[in-house]
Symmetry: C2
Subunit: 374 residues, 2 copies
């Protein structure tokens, strides 16, 4: 079952049923526009990651501002975007399994689709699926630029995979995937800079090896919200894949800029609206938003605009607040905005976004690819 929408356009924010996933539309549009300005100034393309928002509605807003398409991590996400009208989708991840590959090949009839590999066996499986579907598939080589997660070793090994793709009958070599995930949340610019420089070096080493094989590299994708400015400056990437810049979250807000201050490039635009649901007692209040309403994987949420209230503990359906002073005790039924610790898995808990501007509900958008983990 899908959940009932928690609001109707025109309602006041305090009339929204909770827990609800709320977008501050002014902050959200600022983030969209500001990212467009930054990548345009750097002369780099933007292919935002839809794993953050899971919405063709939002992907279209990004494309209307110049994005070349979307990234996704999963075939099921690619389906939702393609069926929703997004014409150019990169699965920035390895896809293993005959069912998934058959679905991906079929999808290439309605959108331009590309996928990544880091092993020769994956290439053989995609070739087989592409041949069976009668289509040619575009395949990128993912290189490990320092994150030690997926990706083949940069340089000759990666170039050898690219050669295998290029010589496969139903495949096209599409370029390199070079995402340094472990750099995104390092707190200081110095750390993020060192990892971004190393990632760029790994890309250049691989481009040299591709050149030695006589292979052109039409695309090099990577970077996230934590590193994209450093990676644009390093000039190894042709496409930026940041996603979280749209919404920001409590964990990204802990990254520091060169002056040692919290990074302020983008604004908090995503909130979980929650209600004080149990009689507040001296020093504590209980909210209706716990681990099923806010993802706790990157730390607890913070309470927006209420420095006296601290979200200190959770259970599945409850969040406990410490209240610093009696004069700021919230009242039963009061609604509070939480800033999620991590936006991506929090979005994945909801069926609906509620867009708010000037205290009123302006729109409802489905989280169309919620649960699209396959």
């Amino acid at each position: 079952m899908l959940q009932t929408p928690p609001a109707v356009p025109g309602m006041r924010e305090d009339e929204i049923d909770t827990p609800a996933l709320v977008i501050d539309l002014d902050a959200f549009e600022y983030n969209l526009d500001h990212m467009t300005a930054l990548v345009s100034a750097a002369g780099v393309k933007l292919r935002p990651h839809a794993k953050t928002h899971k919405s063709p509605v939002i992907a279209k807003m990004q494309m209307a501002r110049g994005a070349v398409g979307s990234c996704v991590q999963k075939v099921a996400e690619a389906e939702v975007l393609a069926w929703g009208g997004i014409p150019d989708i990169l699965v920035s991840n390895e896809i293993v399994g005959a069912t998934k590959l058959a679905r991906l090949c079929a999808l290439s009839a309605v959108a331009k689709v590309a996928v990544c590999v880091d092993d020769a066996a994956q290439i053989a499986w995609i070739e087989q699926a592409a041949a069976a579907s009668g289509r040619r598939m575009t395949v990128l080589v993912e290189i490990d630029v320092g994150g030690a997660r997926c990706g083949i070793e940069p340089g000759p090994a990666a170039a050898a995979l690219a050669k295998t793709i290029a010589t496969s009958k139903h495949l096209i070599f599409g370029g390199l995937q070079a995402y340094q995930g472990s750099a995104q949340h390092r707190r200081t610019v110095t750390e993020r800079q060192a990892l971004s420089t190393a990632a760029a070096d790994a890309v250049h080493r691989t481009l040299d090896a591709l050149h030695a094989h006589g292979l052109a590299c039409p695309l090099v994708g990577g970077a996230g919200t934590g590193t994209f400015e450093l990676e644009m400056a390093a000039r190894a990437l042709t496409e930026i894949q940041a996603g979280s810049y749209l919404f920001m979250d409590a964990d990204y807000a802990r990254n520091l800029d060169a002056a040692g201050q919290p990074v302020s490039t983008f604004r908090h635009a995503l909130f979980v609206l929650s209600t004080v649901m149990s009689a507040p007692q001296s020093g504590r209040a209980v909210l209706d938003a716990g681990a099923k309403a806010v993802s706790m994987d990157s730390g607890l949420p913070t309470v927006w605009g209420k420095p006296d209230l601290e979200y200190v503990n959770f259970s599945d359906e409850h969040g406990k607040l410490d209240v610093a002073s009696e004069s700021t005790m919230p009242v039963l039924g009061e609604k509070l905005r939480l800033v999620p610790g991590h936006c991506d898995p929090t979005v994945d808990l909801y069926d609906w976004y509620v867009g708010v501007r000037d205290g009123r509900v302006e729109c409802l958008w489905p989280v169309a690819a919620r649960g699209a983990t396959a």
Copy 2:
């Protein structure tokens, strides 16, 4: 959108698309039967918590084995169960908000429904909603038996609330809610025993106060999978509300019995099936199940039946395994069962259960109340 079912009955387990939420049906039925035997022997009623499974199909199996109904935490969960044919539902939680209360009152036309309060204001709001709907609602008083989350102080304050309910025109006093959530995952029996004894004392104190008001108490509900045997022995509760016993999880498996051994009352019956999706390298492998496939709020998942493999790190769509020896390196495409750290919020990430027996898919059941946080 709902997600495509990851399997078809009759398939082999290794043909299931991943990540998938898999029930080992033999272990699951063992857990169902074993709990029935334990509560029957103690002469206590069982009202299992449906926040764990979110499924009318499973709630019916529990009732077929003697359960008196289901507990839920949210109105949206109550709706899914009532619409799915469950006749007796206790919302073991406070419900605040006019929309939610109107929905709850309307639902009482198709099922017996009760709800909890811990404040006089909530009673007034429920009275108002009940009057507007032309129905009488059953209301329990939640007492704080030591968890310091929701609940009014046990004793006279609680009895005063009960009196307010009993004298409200459209309300019926239904009993006490006495759940000690913070006792469930204490590791030693000594700790769990002390907290359970204190909880029982709080119930008895409140029953005395109710008696002084001349109020009968038809129901006292509480206990979870971590404490129900101790709480049955303490004889303060008329209904046991355990939920996780159905599935168990990695965190409950860290509780110890009187001999200092991991508690073995129930079996692990819930798994996330995942695939090795990236080329395994010396000492590491990458799975397709990260924070969007397994809830990380109570610790990382464990790898079932593979002591040499340790799930050590996650990102949104990836899980990283440390591999202790080269001889046990998993291969690309291999499927592994994970035991979730916490079953309840993990279930909430999926649209489908896949029931497996003897290596074959036997059934698919919808997680009908997935995302029912309102």
